[in-house]
Assembly symmetry: C2
Homo-oligomer: 267 residues x 2
DNA sequence: GTGAAAAGTTGACGGATCGTCATTTTAGGT
DNA sequence: ACCTAAAATGACGATCCGTCAACTTTTCAC
């Protein structure tokens, strides 16, 4: 954290501590990204059963040995994909937190980002779900797990920041015996539950008549109203807020995906 | 469905349609239960990585061929375990719905049952999580998936029943544009999210200071308050309700587990 | 520029696990 | 006691995982 404040001389004499991005590591990271892109494509096309290390290697331009130089196991690939998802989510959260509105609207924007990501990238979201599974966690590399943990913490920072803001501006009050952590956890849990359950339950034929965005918005309204987060849904049109967020947010996502697309085509 | 109404003669001449529980099928089902018990034990002891079909076969008193006569794949074993969990949850829900109190307390009892199960049987709960994963769903037998679907529908029936009761007795009102399905889904999602996220996030070192039951109760209170479910948490001591439910419920669970234990030892 | 050391790449290989199937064993009926 | 159908067995082929010794490329000192 404080490394940035150290004299340059130290940084030069001890580059191993804060390694500067060499051209080599840059290329390595880029290729890792390509491999993950390919893995994702395989998942989309042939499902999770179709993802095989041999297949991933043969469809890519590297051999199996090199593949294992990037990922410690097949499960590590899944965790890497989930790390990728978390990084993208983090960006989306950064954008969302800039939404100009009161604190509850900003919180809504965070939920919106989470929801839109789960809807736009169902495969990645399933990776996120799978990566929380014991069978995957047991076989992932510690380094990757650490990355995951740090990213989740950063995401939570955004949640807690909005809650802090709300406490500061008086639109929200913390009851005695309740911690800010608790509320951010509950927010996280509700968002995860709604989005993670929707697709599988629909596949099973349950809740056929439900529309994802409506349910999502509604669930958030219930929770925020329960928290007493002003203005309550009875005194504000959050449907409209949601649409406004969509407008600002979806266009940003589009321009981003366009950028990603062109970058992908160049490669 | 209407087979039960057919004359006995037909049932005798076509027993395959509505198979009576023969001694053979009885024994088969009993052994399947033993196998699942063993699988669970392996999972507890050696994690999900340690569960192998060869190992399960060798540790049991049947061969691999017979094992595959029960389960179509390794993943099918996990789904079978999740089906088992759902059946036990169904029983717990049945008990919970008999709690004598107002409708919101009964709903709380359902959440309590769900939470207690996740806490008392973390391994089975992780099976429930894993079984919602694409890699497992893709490889499970259709028959088992159907069982799972039907059980989840039955569980949802209990949720919706309590909600219906609340609407009937006036303690809850459905806003325009909101369906009973939506509310039951949101309840399900919150409970799933809270319980499914708690263990993995704790393992990652997040939310170290949170106590599971408190958070659970608190999240339910927020949601129910948001729904306007009377009496609100400001006008009723749901902490005490939770404890009362625990008292009645945990003792029931204990006597049950005792029964199960003795039954297990007889077998 | 050159050569050697370091870093990176490769695909063949051993091992583990999966799922099947021909053969053997068991159970139920006459 | 014998026959037949269902069930159990474990050896087997196939698949996939992860490793490693040999080989290629890059780096760097001289």
């Amino acid at each position: 954290m404080t490394d940035a404040r150290l004299p340059a001389a130290i940084a030069v004499t001890a580059p191993a501590v804060a390694p500067m991005p060499t051209a080599r590591s840059k290329a390595r990271q880029q290729r890792e990204q390509q491999l993950l892109e390919l893995a994702q494509q395989i998942l989309r096309q042939d499902g999770f059963t179709g993802l095989t290390m041999d297949r991933l290697a043969s469809l890519s331009d590297v051999s199996k040995g090199t593949l294992y130089n990037h990922f410690s196991s097949k499960e590590d690939v899944l965790t890497a994909l989930s790390v990728d998802s978390l990084q993208r989510l983090l960006q989306l959260f950064q954008h969302a937190s800039t939404f100009s509105g009161h604190s509850r609207e900003r919180a809504l924007a965070l939920h919106h980002a989470y929801h839109k990501f789960s809807a736009a990238e169902p495969t990645l979201f399933l990776c996120l779900l799978s990566a929380a599974t014991p069978g995957v966690m047991e076989k992932s590399s510690p380094a990757r797990m650490l990355q995951r943990q740090q990213l989740e913490m950063q995401l939570l920072q955004y949640c807690q920041q909005v809650l802090s803001d709300a406490l500061a501006d008086g639109s929200l009050q913390l009851p005695v015996g309740v911690s800010l952590e608790q509320w951010s956890f509950i927010n996280w849990a509700l968002a995860f539950g709604c989005n993670a359950l929707f697709v599988p339950l629909r596949q099973l034929g349950l809740f056929a008549g439900l529309a994802a965005p409506q349910v999502n918005l509604h669930s958030i309204n219930l929770l925020f109203d329960g928290m007493g987060w002003l203005p309550l849904s009875s005194g504000w049109d959050y449907q409209q807020s949601w649409q406004q967020i969509s407008l600002k947010f979806d266009s940003a996502a589009n321009s981003e995906s366009t950028l990603a697309h062109s970058a992908q085509e160049q490669a």
